[in-house]
């Protein structure tokens, strides 16, 4: 919610809505937090599924945003993109 309120680029807003879910019992509700949870509990093959491929696609999208494919990004938006990238790569095994 904090991230959503702090960005102006519409595509970045959409990306945040896509990557963060409300009401999480563990962590921030981010896709990155779900991957870390899956890795800790070994639930990647259970009924809850794995978020890793979703995260890979999201990183491609972040790169496009930084490259200006969806319009210009202000300083604050760029900072938030890197915050999202950090969340998606920290402890998830994904590379930026």
């Amino acid at each position: 919610m904090r991230l959503l309120n702090n960005v102006t680029n519409p595509q970045l807003k959409k990306a945040i809505a896509y990557l963060y879910r409300e009401g999480a019992q563990y962590g921030s509700g981010s896709t990155g937090a779900m991957i870390r949870e899956e890795l800790i509990n070994g639930t990647t093959t259970s009924q809850s599924g794995s978020h890793i491929i979703k995260a890979e696609g999201a990183l491609i999208n972040m790169r496009k945003l930084l490259n200006g494919n969806f319009g210009s990004l202000g300083e604050q938006d760029r900072k938030i993109v890197f915050e999202i990238v950090e969340d998606l790569t920290n402890g998830t095994g994904l590379k930026w």
Binding site: Y18, A24, Q47, S48, G49, S50
Partner: protein, 136 residues
């Protein structure tokens, strides 16, 4: 190095095949969604952004439709599609349903979870309710 590149190309082909098969089937089984995309002038998400993003966009649209009229053709056909894909034993397809659609529906507080659950096949109801471990 060349071998690795070729393998990656082959894997990308598989991803694209899964993506186009799922999207084609969706647009065929839920023509109302196709019409909505055309009317809004928006583009179908490109494969490199992933099938998960496409399914998210579809889920957002499905949520709007459920809230407007749960008995509409859109909603009926959408759940027929979801249940059809859910018959597959392919783990990747099952994951796409779980992460791409169920998690979005489950975490949308405006929706009645029981109502959504009842529209899913018995097999998929278990997958949908598995999110109770992760979300309030």
């Amino acid at each position: 190095m060349v071998v690795k590149k070729n393998i990656m190309k082959e894997l990308e082909k598989i991803d694209r095949y899964i993506y186009s098969s799922l999207v084609d089937l969706l647009l065929k089984m839920v023509p109302e969604y196709k019409k909505k995309i055309e009317q809004s002038g928006s583009k179908i998400i490109m494969p490199e952004e992933g099938v998960y993003r496409f399914m998210y966009e579809f889920s957002v649209c499905l949520i709007e439709e459920i809230l407007e009229n749960i008995y509409s053709d859109f909603v009926t056909n959408a759940f027929m599609y979801i249940n059809k894909v859910g018959e597959s034993h392919n783990l990747e397809l099952q994951n796409i349903l779980r992460i791409g659609i169920f998690e979005i529906l489950y975490t949308t507080k405006e929706l009645d979870r029981n109502q959504v659950c009842n529209m899913l096949s018995e097999k998929l109801q278990k997958d949908f309710n598995a999110f109770s471990k992760y979300y309030y």
